[in-house]
């Protein structure tokens, strides 16, 4: 009985693994074939030397950094305040943070284009810089569910209220409390949310494309339509970036504070 | 003596290089309630799981009602088991949980319903049939688990620390209830626990286990009053241990902190000059001379704790301390710290630990 179930487990696992590993191997193999008759990293070299790659990738990295900053500024004080003072607002906030999972990104950006056009009251789309800002905002919305969850989980493990009251008794002001007590303690959680946001934002296509921004996602799509081996190289690079972000989150989670004094 | 109902014969179990149970044997009479008592890691749960069929013994035999079940699968053994974490099926109601074994055995629904109602009466939760486990308290869930285990009329009931997850109060009332149901149904039961008070209060016999072996098997009275080994003496109940030196083996004289005590007929095999561990239960000691307590030691009162009906007194005898309990009496003031005191005991109550 035991033996049989283990056989099935291995079979399922083996078939699944093949499905997941094969495209990666195939893509990698394909990406090495740019030079006729031998394997080479020519496709990667041509990608890295492409000025469009450099500019779009840099652009997306900058946008991702601003997205993370905006996300942290928005989420950390809110999640903290909700835990500390307005616990009955929690369901509302949680519901709002889950909305971006319900409303597809394409619908959100459609709404932006309709609402923030050049002759509206908030004409984000009138200038390129304004559109950049709107893209950052849109990405912050997309990352909101992940950021909020990460931070809220972090706050839950450290027992915010006791820490805050302890700091107040010792005479700390609000800035000190947030900067010196809360942030360092939820830093790991914030960083996890940040890396996840980064992984989501770096190759995002829909919003960037519809807002006509020179980001990495639209660049990828464009390359795919116009060359043979570079797309495979870019797919491998993208996978490596996603993998890197996820590994960093895993590594960080090992340093996360274990529940202070309350197990919930 | 009748044939044993359950016979565990020279059972061993090793996982890789570590041996968890070595050469464990025990015969259990029909209808008997036997507890396996010991600290965690002593092998008590492993023996139980071998009886249930979840572990296969590395050597030895398990016989139930004359039939060798050592290699039988758990679902063919007809044993009932209750787990520490209740393990009720969360998707089934209380009644469906209790009926599970009956349904699996193919009992007609009307019969099964009747049996379930009967079980709910026995565990005194007759109104709870339609509830789901998550709606019940821990104590209620464990009673349902008990009902589920005994509903198919198993030959053996195995209880794996069933009370450990419960509050102290519920624990006491449920253990009494388990015992009374077990007696009423006459079902042969093995009860695994690390709680000595629990084991003493409900068992017909106790097997005290340590390091994969049975240290002693006996009635609660024997285990408590005549512990066979140092481990049993220490694990079961509170004990005062004094070190002594044999001064005259022939007449049974032992010196404890430069005071002589006579222990006639207790020193079997010890020579003069041997050191011994002498043990006394707190209730076997009294403060001051008492009739029938033939031995005494002088010391000084070091601590007094007023606990209500009882006063716990610690008396320093040279380098060691002895605890004893005296009843509170409104007429006499409690002893004071620093007073000289004499403790007395019957030399026959003194345990000599080898």
């Amino acid at each position: 009985m035991k033996q049989g179930s283990r056989f099935w487990a291995w079979l399922v696992f083996g078939v699944g693994t093949t499905y997941f590993i094969l495209p990666l191997l195939a893509t990698f193999e394909f990406s090495l074939r740019k030079r006729r008759g031998e394997y080479s990293f020519d496709a990667y070299r041509s990608v890295f030397e492409d000025p469009n790659f450099q500019t779009t990738f840099t652009y997306s990295v900058v946008v991702a950094i601003f997205t993370i900053l905006l996300g942290v500024l928005l989420v950390v004080p809110t999640a903290y305040w909700i835990r500390l003072r307005l616990p009955n607002l929690r369901p509302v906030v949680e519901f709002i943070t889950l909305l971006p999972l319900v409303i597809p990104a394409i619908v959100i950006v459609f709404g932006y284009i309709r609402m923030f056009g050049s002759n509206s009251t908030l004409p984000f789309l009138a200038t390129a810089r304004g559109t950049d800002v709107l893209l950052v905002i849109g990405y912050a919305v997309l990352a909101l569910p992940y950021m909020y969850r990460a931070v809220d989980t972090g706050l839950r493990t450290i027992d915010v209220r006791t820490l805050t009251e302890a700091a107040q008794i010792l005479g700390a002001g609000w800035t000190t409390i947030i900067a010196r007590i809360i942030l360092p303690n939820v830093l790991i959680a914030v960083l996890s949310g940040a890396f996840l946001s980064f992984a989501i934002v770096i190759g995002e296509f829909t919003m960037a494309s519809l807002l006509n921004r020179p980001a990495f996602g639209p660049y990828l799509q464009n390359i795919g339509a116009n060359s043979a081996y570079e797309p495979s190289a870019l797919a491998i690079i993208s996978f490596a970036i996603t993998w890197g972000c996820m590994s960093l989150i895993q590594i960080l989670s090992r340093f996360a504070p274990k529940s202070a004094n309350r197990p919930n | 003596m009748a044939d044993p109902f359950l016979s565990i014969q020279h059972v061993r179990k090793s996982f890789g290089a570590t041996t968890v149970v070595e050469d464990f044997s025990l015969d259990v009479e029909p209808g008997e309630f036997v507890s396996f008592l010991g600290p965690s890691g002593c092998g008590k749960t492993t023996v139980l799981r071998m009886v249930a069929g979840f572990e296969e013994p590395s050597a030895g035999k398990i016989v139930v009602a004359g039939k060798d079940i050592t290699r039988l699968k758990p679902n063919q053994r007809n044993v009932g088991m209750v787990f520490q974490a209740y393990a009720l099926f969360p998707n089934l109601t209380v009644a469906q949980n209790i009926a599970f074994g009956l349904k699996v055995a193919g009992m007609p629904k009307a019969d099964a319903d009747r049996r379930v109602a009967e079980m709910l009466d026995i565990i005194k939760l007759p109104q709870m049939g339609d509830r789901y486990p998550y709606q019940l308290s821990g104590g209620q869930q464990q009673r349902i688990a008990l009902a589920r285990a005994i509903a198919p009329k198993p030959k053996l009931l195995l209880l794996d620390e069933p009370l450990s997850a419960l509050d102290a109060k519920v624990r006491v009332s449920l253990r009494e209830e388990i015992r009374s149901i077990q007696k009423k149904l006459g079902i042969t039961t093995i009860f695994v626990t690390h709680d000595q008070e629990e084991a003493l209060s409900i068992s017909d016999r106790i097997a005290v286990m340590y390091g994969g072996k049975a240290e002693q098997v006996g009635t609660p009275f024997e285990i408590y009053n005549r512990p066979a080994t140092k481990f049993v003496a220490n694990f079961v109940g509170t004990l005062n241990v004094l070190e002594g030196t044999v001064t005259d083996a022939a007449s049974g004289m032992v010196r404890v902190n430069s005071q002589e005590v006579a222990l006639k007929g207790k020193l079997n095999g010890s020579k003069s000059g041997d050191t011994l561990s002498l043990a006394l239960r707190p209730e076997a000691i009294s403060l001051g001379r008492q009739p029938g307590r033939d031995s005494s030691l002088a010391g000084e009162i070091s601590e007094v704790h007023f606990l209500g009906s009882v006063i716990r007194v610690r008396v320093g005898i040279g380098g060691s301390t002895v605890s004893l309990d005296t009843f509170n009496s409104p007429a006499t003031p409690p002893p004071a710290v620093g007073e000289k005191a004499e403790i007395s005991f019957a030399s026959s109550d003194m345990l000599v630990l080898h």
Partner: protein, 302 residues
């Protein structure tokens, strides 16, 4: 949850009266930025679209746009979208569950479990353009697997009617993020299956199959259903993977909407809003069911 509110009432209530009078606005200031942000960049744009779906070009309220969604091309787009999402969700859920059970309960070495979970975390986020590239390199007309199958096994999948740009090609690609997402979400539920349940069932005389039929499957069912509808919503809203794989040609809702936003291909902006509303309704319903199923599952597996 319940106990976390207790210390607060205990510690705050003695000074509550004066604080509430003095600090009430401050209480709300703490969360104001968040609510303003959510209102401005999440709720209002969406509500605007929804309202637009019920207006005509002149701004009058009408159901015309909703009715116009039934025109053959749009109805077909919804149908194909729903089909792709359902098929990829159901397959993804079944395969993902099988893998989660294999890894958690199948007696495989424990390092495989953490490796699988880590990989699933990566792969469930590896959607979009690069994923499409990978599958073209693997199963495209000149893909590595296509060539291998043709040259070594003599199976020409393209002459058998397969194409990576077809319905099944898309499903196969979507599974690359659907299965891992299932594994990530369902593993805690599989973990929640207590070993003692199986042992209790065995001592009560149940066979392995009876235990699965009467306990395991019913217990996992709500989580399974809930995650399946979540996978459905996940596939339904996916734009980039489909667009990079098939270009603007495939008639599914997100791609239709993409083309509409780009260039008003429907020649009616309000119809575009209705198209978006349809997406919100479908993904919204899916998420609602997810929450309902999840609530039931949590009650059992707490």
């Amino acid at each position: 949850m319940a106990d976390s509110t207790m210390p607060q009432t205990a510690s705050v209530s003695p000074r509550a009266p004066e604080i509430s009078r003095l600090r009430l606005p401050l209480h709300w200031l703490g969360v104001a930025p968040f609510f303003v942000f959510a209102l401005l960049f999440l709720i209002l744009p969406t509500v605007g679209l929804i309202a637009g779906a019920f207006k005509n070009a002149a701004g009058d309220y009408t159901f015309e746009n909703i009715i116009a969604l039934s025109q053959p091309k749009l109805a077909a787009a919804y149908l194909v979208s729903i089909q792709i999402s359902v098929v990829s969700a159901v397959l993804g859920a079944l395969i993902g569950l099988a893998m989660a059970v294999a890894v958690v309960r199948g007696g495989l070495p424990s390092w495989l479990r953490s490796a699988t979970l880590t990989f699933s975390g990566v792969a469930s986020n590896f959607a979009g353009v690069p994923l499409a590239f990978s599958f073209i390199a693997t199963l495209g007309r000149l893909g590595v697997a296509t060539i291998l199958l043709r040259d070594i096994f003599g199976i020409n999948i393209y002459s058998l009617g397969f194409s990576i740009f077809s319905f099944w090609g898309l499903v196969l690609t979507y599974l690359y993020f659907q299965i891992p997402l299932m594994i990530v979400i369902i593993t805690p539920a599989v973990d929640g299956l207590k070993k003692e349940w199986g042992e209790a069932a065995a001592t009560l005389g149940a066979t392995n199959w009876q235990y699965w039929r009467m306990v395991v499957i019913p217990v996992l069912w709500p989580s399974f259903l809930g995650t399946t509808v979540l996978l459905f919503a996940n596939a339904f809203g996916a734009v980039a993977t489909a667009y990079a794989l098939t270009g603007p040609s495939l008639n599914i809702v997100p791609i239709q909407l993409f083309a509409q936003i780009r260039g008003d291909v429907l020649y009616n902006p309000n119809l575009g809003y209705a198209l978006a509303l349809g997406m919100i309704v479908i993904t919204g319903l899916a998420n609602l069911f997810y929450i309902l199923f999840q609530r039931r599952a949590e009650r059992w597996l707490k």
